[in-house]
Amino acid sequence: MHDDPLKRAICLGSASVLLVLTALLQIYRVEEQDLHPWKGGGFGMFAASPEQRALRIIPIDENRIGYITPMPSRYRGTTADRLLFRPAESRLREFARQLLTEDWLLIGIDQEPGKQYPVPRYDILDPSSSEPIRIVEIRLEVHVYRYDADSDELRATLLTEIAEKPEQPR
């Protein structure tokens, strides 16, 4: 007794078809949606350079001054990784809108050696600390560091960016 042809085709082909379709979707998303080439089930690990990505958060105050600030601790981990590995515009905008609802505080000014200007550092306000700064815009930039074998350099290039302002009351 043998299984009928349809059952045989389903039992012997389903997993492979799923594998190939997912891989084709991954290849499309890497090309069109900046999905990280090592992610998403396309078996592209060790095929493209292992990109190091960085998300830059730039809160801009009412004097139109903006500075790069580290990822607030509450968003580190899965939230940050999702934005880095698949930085779709809709996701970045949603995250920026979330950041705009936070109270931001100037937590210090770094005078880095070799730099001409001091670098203010912002973080999300702790409820017990002082008055927040008014943030009028949040810019998000995703940069990718790629290795250049000719110059032995790791160079950052801008992958995608968005800017989001608070919604005006109607």
Partner: protein, 298 residues
């Protein structure tokens, strides 16, 4: 009885298992031990519970429902919820559990699992080969060069294969990367690229050649004589690739699929598969890696 004799006894008892049963047990071991990066709590909890129940009631190992349930859990967690966070082998786990469940639904279960094992391994390596052949950064050797100068999993290889690549190079490069990411620098200089260039080119062509060979051998009809070499090439690939890259879960999965495709009579070959399964597990503990590191350093 000595420890060696005891191990040999366990090994030969495992090799007596049919390809189907051995493949199922190896896959269940993977579900239970889950080597590699941590999965989310809900996946760990549910799949570990299922694996423990199967250990207590071994008849469930051959029930398709067990594997459909595992496939569903892995698929939902890795392929849907955590899509962009998961590496390839996380996707592969769900396909393989699905393939097992479907194979157990057929009259010829062992034959069906052998076909699924061969085809999945064949497609995995065909896709990996094609991605490499269409990648400029891979073909130029740049991909492996970056790994050798910057990725701590590869530093042991860099010291062994590189021409003058030192611990100081690796430490400075790691610090430079951290510096670039922390301070949003537009570029940083790395060191040691020249020292590992030859090794990078060797790894580039070795990897794409052996992966292409695996794709061809596993997708060829098994009646062809040349296809019988697939196990040799797979074992050579697993032993040469997974210890340095430390992607143990992928290695285990590929071995479980390869075992399913062995002939019933190939007991010795299955014993070698079990040896490879243990080898990459022992390597992943870091002891051998550290020994290599120390040997290369001094």
């Amino acid at each position: 009885m000595t420890a060696g004799a005891a191990l040999r006894g366990i090994g030969s008892r495992l090799a007596e298992l049919s390809p189907l049963d051995l493949s199922l047990w190896l896959t269940l071991t993977l579900v239970l031990v889950r080597p590699g990066p941590a999965d989310p709590w809900y996946l760990v909890g549910s799949t570990t519970l299922i694996a423990i129940i199967v250990l207590l009631v071994p008849e469930l190992l051959r029930r398709r429902e067990t594997w459909f349930l595992l496939a569903g859990l892995y698929f939902l967690s890795n392929n849907v919820i955590r899509y962009e966070l998961c590496d390839n082998h996380k996707f592969l786990t769900s396909y393989w559990c699905l393939a097992i469940g479907l194979s157990l639904s057929m009259r010829d279960r062992a034959g069906a699992l052998a076909v699924n094992g061969r085809v999945i391994v064949g497609f995995v390596f065909a896709l990996a080969t094609l991605q490499k052949l269409f990648s400029a950064s891979y073909l130029s050797g740049e991909m492996f060069e970056q790994l050798l100068v910057l990725d701590d999993r590869f530093f042991s290889l860099s010291y062994l294969l590189g021409d003058g690549f030192t611990v100081e190079h690796s430490l400075r490069n790691t610090a430079q990367l951290e510096n670039a990411l922390r301070n949003s620098l537009p570029s940083v200089d790395l060191e040691g690229g020249d020292a590992v260039r030859g090794a990078a080119l060797f790894l580039t062509w070795w990897t794409v050649t052996i992966e292409a060979a695996l794709a061809i051998l596993f997708l060829l009809p098994p009646r062809l004589r040349i296809a019988s070499y697939r196990d040799h090439v797979l074992l050579a690939f697993v032993i040469s690739t997974y210890p340095p890259t430390n992607v143990i879960q992928f290695g285990w999965l590929i071995l479980a699929m390869g075992v399913a495709a062995t002939e019933e009579s190939q007991r010795r070959r299955r014993l070698i598969y079990i040896g490879a399964f243990l080898f990459i597990f022992i390597f992943s503990t870091g002891q051998i890696r550290q020994m290599l590191f120390d040997a290369a350093r001094f």
